[in-house]
Symmetry: C2
């Protein structure tokens, strides 16, 4: 691979995204993308005794589904890269513990899925690996319990709040295969514009998204119209409109071909999800379930996938800290240049 | 790079560890390695209002110290890789937020420092990067508060418990320089032998350490006597003796040249630290402050550095889960083969 511009790596040997898998919870199963997911759950527990154990099971079964779909066994996977929102990333750690695959734990909040694809691509580019696994999960109930209020309180949610997606998405990057290929990665730096409202993540993350978006265009010489689709996850309705405005200020018009996984996941009018979906699983499931299939079917040939994360915890909010954001972008294309 | 054996990558272009930096807290400043660290703090707060903010400051100032020592600026660093023990890795996230360096957040509990060196080495091996930054931190007070009991309670500690190191260690991997070089990486898989005692991390992590150690020897064809020193972090006194015994059972005698950063950090007789040091900062500071200098001075030419992590949180313990462990190993050598 080669470094181009300030932050972007152009892969010499773009890996194929060999296959993907996704499992989602009950709320997501009532949304507009339900038919694209491998499995839709009826309840948030899936037979487990806690939300944390349920999230671990969702993670594990998504990996098992992916291995079954791809025809690979755990032994065929050289390295794995995964993370989640729970303290000390327990869903991915416990979800991976029986697989005996060398494992790198990641934390980038909701940016983790694309972070895992970035690092996985760099491992693949060397041609030293045959297959690597990238995955993330999140769970509405375990996230609310950990980051906000006990669900039993029934707190009213603010209009700017987002709904953490219950689910897991996973992808295998492979030396073999005919695309879609990961061709460029633009990892982002942390951007903190001083937003302190933990119920307005879209506003906190939009400046990081803008930074990585502009850097990607400057580094590659591409413009927004190069891509069939530019997809972020998860700025939600509010963050999406902020990013469109901020990009316009930098002379990039993304209003025609841009959307956000938090917006795509739920039907805002019917599902009471306010500013849209969020969580590590949002972009992971929307990409793995929906966007990947659109690419394989020829509806999208050039995709810029950018995941955003809010790098805070409940202690930092209580201590008056602002919310740093980060965004990582990758080009996924049906042809490798 | 090339994959050799089951899990190991042999680097084609071993990066030099250009420089390191370390800052430690007051307890570590009274230990046998105090004179090797760049800065020893008098108290756990360092002028901040909370332990979390103090840990963030320690992290940030370690990076600043490292940049100053190496003569590089933040702009010279292509990518950074860091993590810590706090929920959502806030110390590293907040510690990195003003530097504007593309950032990958990692979580591998106490294995994170070597995890960051593994991933950093793979980025460097491509020759696409000039310099990458690897760092971790931990803080006794913030860790106790988060994982165990309020310090104000004054709970008695069990004999098997370890003392989380307050500090931060960081290293720059560079294309230029004359070593020490990272020549091989052996990332580990998660191993869970069913240990449930959160006050006996050494026992929980030793099987993972054994797995990665044996895999490294099998993959590379090396034996323990190839290395001048085999150093783990942080199994502590108990885990160290378990690993020696377990390795003997696999016909690897490491009793002559093996030690553990948790053992090296404190004076057990005088400092009341029970089974020794632990935390993301333990191996990070012992390597960055002590071992790196021994290598530069010619006292160690071939080092196998292996970091171990316990991948649990307080919720998993409360829910009766066992403690999965992980270990990542790297060969650091004064000559690249």
């Amino acid at each position: 691979m080669k470094k181009i511009g300030n932050q972007t790596l152009k892969l010499d040997n773009p890996p194929t995204i060999l296959d993907t898998a996704s499992i989602v919870g009950p709320k997501e199963s009532e949304g507009p993308l339900a038919k694209f997911f491998d499995k839709c759950l009826d309840d948030e527990f899936w037979g487990e005794k806690s939300w944390e154990k349920a999230e671990t099971k969702i993670f594990r079964e998504t990996i098992n589904t992916l291995l079954a779909k791809s025809g690979l066994s755990a032994k065929d996977i050289d390295y794995s890269f995964a993370g989640d929102l729970l303290n000390q990333c327990i869903s991915s750690n416990f979800g991976m513990r029986d697989l005996n695959i060398p494992f790198f734990g990641l934390f980038g909040a909701c940016s983790t899925f694309v972070e895992s694809l970035c690092i996985g691509s760099v491992f693949m580019d060397s041609l030293a690996c045959n297959n690597v696994l990238c995955a993330t999960s999140s769970h509405f109930c375990s996230a609310e319990k950990q980051f906000r209020f006990p669900l039993e309180l029934g707190n009213q949610r603010t209009p700017t709040s987002q709904w953490t997606v219950t689910g897991s998405g996973a992808a295998i990057l492979s030396k073999k295969g005919l695309g879609p290929y990961i061709t460029y990665i633009t990892p982002g730096a942390i951007v903190d514009m001083g937003i302190k409202d933990a119920n307005n993540m879209g506003a906190a993350m939009a400046p990081a998204a803008l930074s990585t978006l502009c850097t990607h265009f400057e580094d590659t010489g591409r413009t927004p119209d190069y891509y069939d689709a530019i997809i972020t996850g998860d700025l939600g309705y509010l963050g999406k409109s902020i990013l469109i405005d901020l990009a316009k200020g930098k002379n990039y018009d993304i209003s025609e071909n841009y959307d956000d996984c938090g917006v795509l996941m739920f039907d805002k009018r019917k599902q009471d999800t306010h500013s849209g979906g969020s969580g590590c699983a949002c972009i992971a499931t929307v990409f793995s379930g929906y966007l990947y299939k659109l690419m394989k079917q020829g509806h999208i040939n050039k995709l810029l996938l950018m995941a955003t994360g809010a790098l805070m915890n409940s202690t930092t909010s209580q201590q008056g800290e602002s919310i740093p954001g980060i965004a990582h972008a990758i080009s996924i294309e049906m042809e490798k240049k």
